[in-house]
């Protein structure tokens, strides 16, 4: 693993909540959740984008809720691999990312279902503006024997400007029959009719775009009880859109 790896361990039956909003000294997170352990991980980057490796291993009945609010600028690649190793392990990943200017961002998020009754739910939301590039990828795999597992991949990106490039191509690899798997990838242009509707009430084009961007990325803010993060998201949308 990379140089500055932060190790996060939650022992059997314990629970923890960790918030990271400064990534300058972190290149990787190595997460290990014991049986029945619960971790809520909240990541918020408002600074310079950087590469990040996140690896998590969940034992029996362990639960990971990971939230990422990415409002960083620049070039970055974030790899997330969650091994649902134990029976009944549950992982949830939620990401909102704003790419603007000439940002170049790649998020690769994968769940490996290695045991029965595991659940991996992933929702990635993105806005690509100006001449930025935003890519969501990842492979959710359910191995043979991981019966009754449930996996979901959802990736949605709104492209605001002609010059922006967005790709969403999450994949499923299913080796077991008795499972529940769903998959949705949408890359769409900002709707002209929506803009017209908002502008017909007196909002300028800029205000209309801001309102739509904020509405789209705001749900991630609800996971942060911290008012500071909420107002930072509002401010960044205000500044950067």
């Amino acid at each position: 693993m990379a140089n500055n790896t932060r190790k996060i361990t939650v022992d059997d039956c314990r629970s923890d909540e960790i918030i990271i909003d400064d990534f300058t000294a972190i290149d990787a997170l190595d997460i290990c959740l014991g049986s029945g352990a619960v971790l809520t991980l909240k990541l918020a980057n408002f600074g310079v984008g950087k590469n990040l490796e996140i690896a998590a291993t969940l034992k029996d009945n362990a639960e990971l809720l990971a939230i990422m609010a990415d409002f960083s600028s620049g070039k970055s690649a974030v790899h997330v691999r969650v091994d649902l190793a134990g029976i009944n392990a549950r992982g949830t990943w939620k990401l909102s990312s704003l790419a603007r200017g000439d940002d170049d961002k790649h998020f690769d998020v994968s769940f490996n279902h290695l045991s029965p009754n595991t659940s991996g739910l992933m929702d990635n939301y993105g806005v690509a503006r100006d001449s930025s590039r935003l890519v969501f990828s990842g492979v959710n795999e359910i191995v043979k024997g991981a019966k009754n597992s449930k996996t979901r991949q959802s990736a949605k990106i709104i492209v605001f400007d002609e010059g922006a490039i967005a790709k969403a191509d999450p994949q499923l690899r299913i080796g077991e029959n008795k499972v529940e798997a769903s998959h949705a990838a949408i890359v769409g242009k900002l709707s002209d009719e929506h803009l017209f509707y908002l502008m017909s009430r007196g909002l300028s084009l800029g205000e209309a775009k801001r309102l739509i961007t904020y509405g789209y990325l705001k749900p991630i803010a609800d996971y942060f009880a911290d008012e500071k993060v909420k107002s930072q998201i509002a401010r960044i949308v205000e500044e950067r859109v």
């Binding site: 709707s191 009719e193 007196g202 909002l203 084009l205 904020y214």
Partner: protein, 275 residues
């Protein structure tokens, strides 16, 4: 006293001419009923006045108190006092009605409304329209029923206090109670001297409000102008009499010309024909 003056207006949608020379003058305090078969340009006229970029004005003029509206952006037209109550209001995920309304109200004010003033105004208006106040915190029009969307349009009209309100089939999808609420709201705004241009297929709404005159659009032009007797006639007979009495051929035959309650708009037709 304001005047909205439309002269020789020609409008294309996807390179197909929908309006072929419309002349219409609307003054403050007037309410004009606009009828006509589907696909003949009623919605197109309203959208063109508001400035929807899909509707291209090829010739003609739209003046608001002498000012050239065609040079104005959509938001400038709104701030100049034009309101369009849409037939199909957009569902905008993530944007709450409250945030949207506050931004709309503040867009036309020097000093933004205080939160207290805003919520008091909102509360009063929601009550007046019979809409539960919780809906202010839901995404704009998302998951609203047809009737809720239409009431939400009228709510916006009341809040934004336009000089001229253009209402496009605002009564479709409303039950009789909601229709009464909408009609009362329109009457209330009529008393404030606003001008209205109201498109509907039904006599019911027109009978509930005060009309200055009635016009009928056929083949992208205003073919008939008169009083409420025209509405009664259309309600009873459809549009075929126009051909017999005035010698105007109704060109683009809709799916059922004798029926007055159909729902394909000109845009969809133009898109279909264009492809």
């Amino acid at each position: 006293m304001s005047v909205l003056k439309i002269s020789n207006l020609h409008v294309n949608v996807e390179d197909k001419e929908i309006l072929s020379g419309v002349d219409l003058t609307l003054k403050s305090g007037e309410t004009v009923a606009l009828l006509g078969p589907n696909g003949h340009g009623k919605s197109t006229l309203l959208q063109a006045i508001m400035g929807n970029p899909r509707y291209k004005v090829t010739t003609g003029q739209i003046l608001l108190d002498g000012e050239d509206m065609l040079k104005m952006r959509v938001d400038e037209r709104a701030k100049a006092g034009i309101f369009l109550g849409m037939q199909y209001p957009s569902e905008v995920a993530g944007v709450t009605s409250a945030d949207f309304l506050r931004a709309s109200l503040n867009a036309r004010r020097e000093k933004p409304l205080s939160l207290f003033e805003f919520y008091r105004l909102l509360d009063t208006t929601y009550k007046r329209m019979g809409i539960p106040f919780e809906m202010a915190n839901r995404s704009l029009n998302e998951g609203f029923s047809g009737g809720e969307k239409k009431r939400n349009e009228i709510l916006q009209m009341i809040l934004l206090e336009p000089r001229f309100a253009l209402l496009d089939e605002i009564d479709s999808g409303l039950d009789i109670d909601a229709m009464t609420v909408v009609a009362e709201a329109i009457k209330g705004e009529q008393e404030k001297g606003r001008g209205f241009l109201i498109v509907s297929h039904y006599a019911r709404l027109y009978n509930m409000i005060n009309l200055t005159r009635t016009i009928v659009m056929v083949n992208g032009k205003i073919a008939v102008s008169g009083g409420p007797e025209i509405i009664a006639k259309i309600d009873a007979q459809g549009y075929e009499w126009i051909k017999a009495e005035l010698g105007i051929d109704i060109e683009k035959e809709g799916p059922d010309m004798s029926s007055v309650s159909i729902g394909i708009c000109a845009t969809k037709e133009a898109v279909r024909d264009g492809k």
